[in-house]
Structures are given as C-alpha cells and as structure tokens.
C-alpha cells in the first residue's frame, strides 16, 4: 500500500498521475497506490519523511531547500521539461521580445514563491533594478490583472493560463505568455521524488513504480488517447468545463513532452544546476547542496 502525494490539486496538468491510478497502470505493475492532492501546507517531502507518503511530486526549489536542511530526498524523474510558471499579458501591450522590454512594466509576483526568484533572476540578467519595474504581490485571485491594474501576471501556463486566455478571448482580447526559459533561465519545476531510504531498502519497488507511472504519462501525453485521458481527468476534476480541459491537456503536452524525441521524465541536469545556482545567489540556501548527486532519473535505476 503506497501513497503518492501530488504538489497541487487534481487537474489536467497531472493527467499522467490520474491515468496511472484510473487506468490501472499501478495495478498492472502489482502496486496498490493512492494518489493524493497537495497544497502549500501538504508538502510531499515532509510526508516522505514522516512516512505519510512513499512517493511525491515536488518542485526543484523545494527539493533543494530540503536538501539544504538535511532532508533525505532524491529525484526520480523530472516531469516538466519547461517550467509552466510563466507570465501572461494582454496582446494589446507591446510584446516582450527581450528582457529589457520588462522595463517599466507592472509585474505581478508571488512574494516568497519561486516566481519571485525567477523574476528577480531575469531582472538581474537584464540589468534592471527595483526602480525600473513595478512589482506587486499577487494572491490567488486574478482581479488586479483582469481589471488591468497589473499588466504582467504570473500563472501556470497549462492550467490557469488556459482559463484566463479563454475568459479574455470571450471578451475579444488576445494574450501572450512570457516564458523565462526563452531567455535562458531554466528553473526546474515539478519532479517525482522519494526518500533515499526508499531507494536503498526497496530499489525494486521504486523501479516498478516509476516505470508504471512514466508509462502512464507517456500514454496520457499521446494525442491519440486524448478522449480517454480527458474522461479519466473528468472523474477527478469535475468542475472544469470540457473544452478548457482539452486546451489544458494540449498545453501540458508541450511542457512535458516539448519534442517527440524527448522521453518523459528525463532529467535536465544543467537546468537543475542552474536552479541551485540561482537559489544560492538569491540566498535561499546556506550553501551548495550538490544537487547533481541527488538526481537519479529513470535511467539511473
């Protein structure tokens, strides 16, 4: 009996995780896995240590922070090849083609969140200081963006991004997304993690779990399976309208499997190292954590 703790609520961006349970991928591998939703208060790495969970999803900054504080966590696979954390802005505003275009913009960031870290890195690279832009703290509702008080707003591109784009398009407004990785900042997002102890004591179980999960993800990201995948997602995420879910799935594909040749779950070691460096520069960790040694990846097992 295994528990798998996600980072956030059930929605289309965890289609693979949903599919693994719903379509019997775990069962076929002989595992009994419960997939659970997460939240800021329900942190997968904590639960690994406390024994409430056996596997989980955590973002790179969480992993690095945990390592910094002596947690025993290892990365099994990197789900997002492109960080879904991006900024949305209206198309009637000048497009951001270079980092310098950020100058003078009113940008939303979640103070304390990793979008803040990313944005600060971007601004530093562009040589922009606090005075060159206006930064506003954001919360969970989008009113300031919708009311045009803030013009560049952080979203998860494949979930909220889709919803917002849809809402605005109904009023005849188009949107752009500002993607940091296009400007050389590759801050890694969600990954599958487990504890070092788990790997040592049950390497076989980890292997089987990861294999089942990743094959579910492969299936979920296959456009041919779309109808089936959406049906599974709908069981868990009943509130989102169907057309939105379809668009979300498409957006998710581009982040998980940006290219046909990329195997789902591969670890972009360079991006991880960059993430560590960024966090070190932003004084979010005390010292280097040697992240490379904690990256196992689908091949490492």
């Amino acid at each position: 009996k295994l528990n798998y703790r996600l980072k956030w609520l059930f929605n289309t961006s965890v289609a693979g995780d949903i599919l693994a349970a719903d379509q019997g991928y775990f069962k076929a591998a002989g595992l009994d896995v419960t997939v659970k939703e997460g939240s800021p208060e329900k942190n997968a790495i904590n639960e690994l240590e406390l024994g409430y969970a056996d596997f989980g999803v955590a973002s790179a900054d969480q992993v690095i922070r945990a390592l910094d504080k002596g947690a025993d966590v290892v990365v099994l696979a990197q789900l997002f090849q492109v960080n879904p954390m991006q900024w949305i802005y209206r198309a009637d505003r000048p497009e951001i083609k270079m980092l310098e275009d950020l100058k003078g913009r009113h940008i939303g960031i979640t103070f304390g969140g990793n979008d803040e870290t990313i944005m600060r890195t971007l601004l530093a690279r562009a040589g922009l200081g606090e005075k060159d832009v206006r930064l506003s703290g954001v919360r969970f509702d989008f009113t300031p963006f919708l009311k045009k008080k803030v013009d560049v707003w952080p979203v998860y591109k494949n979930s909220q991004g889709v919803i917002l784009a849809d809402q605005l398009s109904r009023e005849g407004e188009a949107v752009y997304f500002f993607n940091p990785s296009q400007f050389g900042v590759n801050f890694v997002a969600n990954s599958i993690v487990t504890s070092g102890k788990m790997i040592q004591t049950h390497p076989e179980r980890v292997k089987i779990f990861l294999k089942a999960l990743l094959s579910a993800w492969e299936a979920a990201m296959d456009p041919l399976n779309e109808a089936q995948v959406l049906a599974s997602v709908k069981k868990k995420d009943t509130q989102t309208p169907d057309d939105i879910q379809q668009k979300q799935l498409a957006a998710t594909r581009q982040l998980i499997k940006p290219d046909k040749g990329i195997r789902i779950g591969v670890i972009d070691v360079g991006a991880w190292k960059q993430t560590e460096t960024i966090m070190l520069n932003e004084h979010q960790i005390k010292g280097p954590v040697g992240i490379a040694s904690r990256l196992i990846g689908p091949e490492g097992l």
Partner: protein
C-alpha cells in the same frame, strides 16, 4: 420560524447579488471580473447538484466539529473560570492558541495528524470553539450570589453545582451563543476543507477560486446560506425546547 429564516436569507442573498450586478453595470466590468446573470445561471445549472451534496458533506463535519467545540469551550471555560494561577494559565493557553491563525498552525497540524478527517475536524473546531469559550468564561466567572449563598454557607458547593447554577441562570445567553456558533463551525469547516480536505464545499470553493470562477463561488455561497439557515433554525428550535424543558414555565408572567 424556519420558513422565515429561509426567505430572509433569500432576500439577503438577492440584495447582495443585485449589489454586485449593479457594480458590474456601473463600472462596465466584463464577465470575467463579475459574472453576468446568464453566466451565473448557466454555472448554477452546471455545478448546482454537486455543490449541494458538497455542502451536506460539509454540514456533517460541521455538526461533529460544533459538538467538539462546545465540549472544549465548556471544559476550558469551566477550568478557566477561577482567577487562580491555574485558571489564568488555562485562559492564556486558550487565548494564545486562538491568536495563531489557522493558516500558520495548519502545517504543524498536518505534521502531527496527517491530512485525514481528524485534521479537518480539529481545524474546524479550533475555529469555532474560541467564541464559545469567551461566552462560557463570561458566564461562568460571575457568581449568582442570591442562589449560591446557601450552598457556600452550608459547605455544599461543588464545582458541578456552581457551573449548573450559573449556566441555568444564563441559559438564554448560552443557547443564543451555541445556536449562533453553528455558523462559526460551518465557516471553520469550510476553511479546514479549503486548506486540508479533498471533499466538501470548501474544497470546491478552492477549485473555483483557482479557476477564478466567481459564478461558481456565488453558487456555493447560495447553498451554504440555505443549509446554514436550516441548520441554525433547527438549533434554535432545540434551544427553545431545552429552555422550556429545563426552566420554569414562563406562561405565568403577568407583567
């Protein structure tokens, strides 16, 4: 009585809605800031059934949580009624824990209890118990001299009796607070679900918020209002029953 409560709620709700729509109209806000009537109606139709069941689910935890809160409030209130060191210590403890917003305590609660039903219940009752506690403390700390004198003078006073006398003399205050605390328990449960659970209307509100679906939130508020009105109406009827059962018949008051 119950019927009145419900239609009064409907009036309140409609007033609120009309106010929102008025603002939308006046400021010319688009549907994504404040949803229009047709969007509200279609959303209502879509999520109605699910939300109704969610609210019932929430109500079941609410009832549980309220019972626990009442028990906690009376326990702490009775222990803390004295101005002794121990009494004031218990009060300080109860007060401080309250001052900690649940959002700050939630991570610790999850570490200690995991994320099951227990955490949800604990959070719900932590939100609800404190206001009850204040009232219980207020009532329990004031002696009813003309009744208590005899028992003190003759050495018959026990804490149970003291509590009973003071509770009885303040029965209608206590029933008001207890019936009223149902709404607090409901709000507490919703918050608990918002942070912790994967069921209940609080969870649905979180999803709606995440999707910036104000129409969905309005629907949720509608069902919460209806159900809480019914629940509270029932509690009040119960309170009246207790009062007439326990206390002297009031019919005999001539002036």
């Amino acid at each position: 009585m119950l019927f009145r409560r419900i239609y009064q709620f409907l009036i309140v709700y409609c007033l609120g809605l009309v106010g929102l729509l008025g603002i939308k109209q006046a400021l010319g806000l688009s549907d994504y800031v404040i949803p229009g009537v047709s969007l509200i109606l279609s959303t209502f139709g879509r999520v109605s059934g699910g939300y109704f069941l969610d609210v019932l689910n929430t109500l079941s935890v609410t009832i549980f949580g309220q019972i626990i809160s009442i028990a906690m409030a009376f326990t702490v209130g009775i222990l803390g009624r004295k101005s002794s060191w121990a009494g004031s210590f218990i009060k300080v403890m109860a007060y401080n824990i309250q001052a900690y917003p649940i959002v700050a305590l939630a991570p610790i609660i999850f570490i200690l209890l995991g994320d099951g039903f227990l955490s949800r219940l604990l959070i719900a009752s932590m939100i609800c118990y404190f206001p009850l506690l204040l009232s219980v403390l207020g009532v329990m700390a004031v002696p009813v001299k003309d009744i208590e004198h005899f028992y003190i003078a003759t050495g018959r006073m026990r804490w149970q009796l003291e509590v009973k006398i003071r509770a009885f003399e303040n029965l209608s205050k206590l029933t008001t607070v207890i019936a009223g605390s149902a709404t607090l328990a409901m709000a507490g449960t919703i918050v608990a679900e918002f942070i912790a659970a994967n069921a209940g209307i609080g969870y649905s509100i979180r999803i709606a918020l995440y999707q910036s679906d104000l129409a969905g939130i309005l629907t949720a508020l509608f069902y919460i209002g209806i159900i809480i009105s019914v629940y509270q109406g029932m509690l009040e009827t119960l309170g009246e029953l207790v009062k007439t059962k326990w206390s002297a018949p009031k019919g005999g008051e001539l002036l």
